[in-house]
Amino acid sequence: MNAEVRPIKTAAETALATSFAAVKRALPGPAAVGALREDAFRRFETEGLPHRRVEEWKYTDLRALMREAKPLAGLPDAAAKDRAKAALATLAAVDARRIVFVDGTLVPELSDLDRLEAGLTIRSMAQALAAGDRDLLAHLGRLVPTDDVAVALNTAFMGDGALIHVAPGAALAQPIHLVFVNAGGEAVAIFARSLVVIEDGARAMLLESHVGCSDASEHQVNAVLELKVGDAAHVDHVKITGEGAGALHVSTLMAAVGAHARFNEFLFTTGGGIVRNQAFVRFGGEGTVAGIRGATLLKGRQHADTTLVAEHAAAECTSREVFKSVLDDEGRSVFQGKIIVCPRAQKTDAKMATHALLLSDTAEADNKPELEIFADDVQCGHGATSGALDQELLFYLKARGIPAKEAEALLIQAFVGEAVEGIEHAGLRDALIDRVVAWLKARE
């Protein structure tokens, strides 16, 4: 027999199917959106939750890790919005236009939706879906098509999120900060979907924070951001995953980058119990320069997986991928990074580095860098290391009078700093360094 054997559905898979049948008619969008949802859910039902025998999910066995599916989040009540206010202190030092989502729903009264700069449009994804917005449907799921199951699940259940448009040539002076707050009530599932289109020659900086009001809350987040970076546009996206240790957080970035653009992606993770950050980036036009970087700091039993696919589909693009993880206690980081160089992408210059610093004997780092090169005139490379703090360096610092913990902190900060320095916005760079320092202080 060579028929595929599908094991019996897990409790979570069954709950998702029951939930989809119950809510699909209430989810926003006309028939065309409903059809997208049905297609996506069928895709999920065929595959089930991804597990360790699926290569892309080998180190993050979602089927085993996701014991149950939480009920879909409802609209936040006044109490939830009140609790969410406390969490808004995040990155308060960075002057940005804040768009706040509580349990996945846009809350206008907590958001800066007034006095938008010229060329900037911000709308609620749920409202645009409900209205069957033609422009939205033209882009949704099409910027970087993927058959990823987590994305399919998001498409099936997608609720609210941000729909942002920046007109050609518009240069936004103020960063836009999408803040996703889990209000910490009953544990719920949140399927956030955002689409950001930055047109040709525009300049924009997008921050995305995920925070929780309660450390223990076992909420489940599946967030998808589709991002279009136009020709000659200059875009930075910084995502901060800072939820409590009870959270299961799966997020996917799908970025289509045009020609002669500048694109900087940064994934900063200190929170969440189980985190999977996926980034699918496609360089579709010539002469683009990009940096895709990240820093992950884990302790306790946190697990964070960064899975990156950077596809060079056009010639003469440069990309630098630098990922650092710092692991204490039983923390585990996974980095899977694949650079694909298509046959026509001659003169590609791509270098990927992933480094893990293990602070305890029980921490674990899995690094899997991959290159798939189909062009013959390229410069590509990758490097991966993992190790402990250098005892010789520590002695040097201690011999100058710096106490052991402080010396360790200095070296760890320097290690993470190499990635964080890639962030162009000085205020944000400092804010992230402050977070690293705070993380280190909490260790002592």
């Binding site: 360096l393 002695f395 100058r400 710096i402």
Partner: protein, 251 residues
């Protein structure tokens, strides 16, 4: 009381005996040169004084101002005024030299119960000593020793010493890898720090350095013990005759 007293010091590394009953007394204000062939234990003594792990003291004492420091971690010894200038200063990418200097100085001050230095006062002090050593401001913004030449690294060690104002300075083969111009700059930096409140242990293979840093006392170390002590003339004799006679004496 002597500033430093080393009494009958026995040290092993990986089960191998390196120091075999070393005795050494150093008074404040003096410069002692420690010479000897490779493997005689010079650098081991320097590292044991500074508190490096992996060196096992099986017998003996090391007293700084009469207090046994062997049980203290390296940072506390540093705060008490002990400074080791490394033979091979390490590179610390990502830690700016300025940050490093400031963290070290303030950590020592804190351990001694002193207030942290204000930024202007700190900068003033760094600029003053950096200027004398010919260290550019640009170098201070770079990662510690990153991209520095051998001579620059040694000058950076002297800069740290001048800033931290230790009372016992141990210079571990500070002359290695230096050309004559760099050697003079380093020696001038050391000489400027000579004072009645401070003592130096200058570890070197060669007499050359001692033309520039003139010692009060010269010791010859062989097989983990001091086998001869004299004045600066002893270093000149050694240059002429070599170390062979001392190694034979031990045999």
């Amino acid at each position: 009381m002597h500033l430093l007293e080393v009494k009958n010091l026995h040290v092993e590394v990986d089960g191998k005996k390196i120091l075999n009953g070393l005795d050494l007394s150093i008074g404040s204000g003096s410069v002692h040169a420690l010479m000897g062939p490779n493997g005689s234990g010079k650098s081991t003594l320097a590292h044991v004084l500074a508190g490096k792990a992996d060196y096992v003291v099986t017998q003996g004492e090391v007293l700084l101002d009469g207090e046994d420091i062997l049980a203290l971690p390296p940072e506390e010894r540093a705060a008490k005024g002990l400074f080791l200038a490394f033979q091979y200063p390490l590179e610390i990418p990502g830690v700016a030299t300025m940050t490093f200097l400031r963290t070290a100085l303030n950590a020592q001050r804190k351990q001694r119960g002193e207030d942290e230095l204000s930024t202007p006062e700190f900068l003033k002090r760094v600029r003053a000593v950096a200027g004398k050593l010919g260290i550019e401001q640009e170098m201070l913004r770079r990662g510690v020793n990153v991209g520095f030449s051998g001579g620059e690294k040694k000058r950076n060690e002297i800069l740290q010493m001048a800033l931290l104002q230790p009372r016992l300075c141990v210079l571990d083969e500070t002359d290695s890898g230096l050309d004559i111009d760099a050697l003079k700059i380093v020696a001038d930096g050391v000489n400027a720090l000579r004072s009645p409140e401070r003592a130096f242990i200058v570890i070197t293979h060669y007499q050359r350095l001692l033309n520039y840093i003139v010692p009060d006392v010269v010791h010859v170390l062989s097989r983990g013990r001091i086998v001869k002590t004299g004045d600066k003339e002893l270093a000149l004799d050694l240059e002429a005759t070599g170390y062979a006679q001392y190694q034979e004496e031990m045999a």
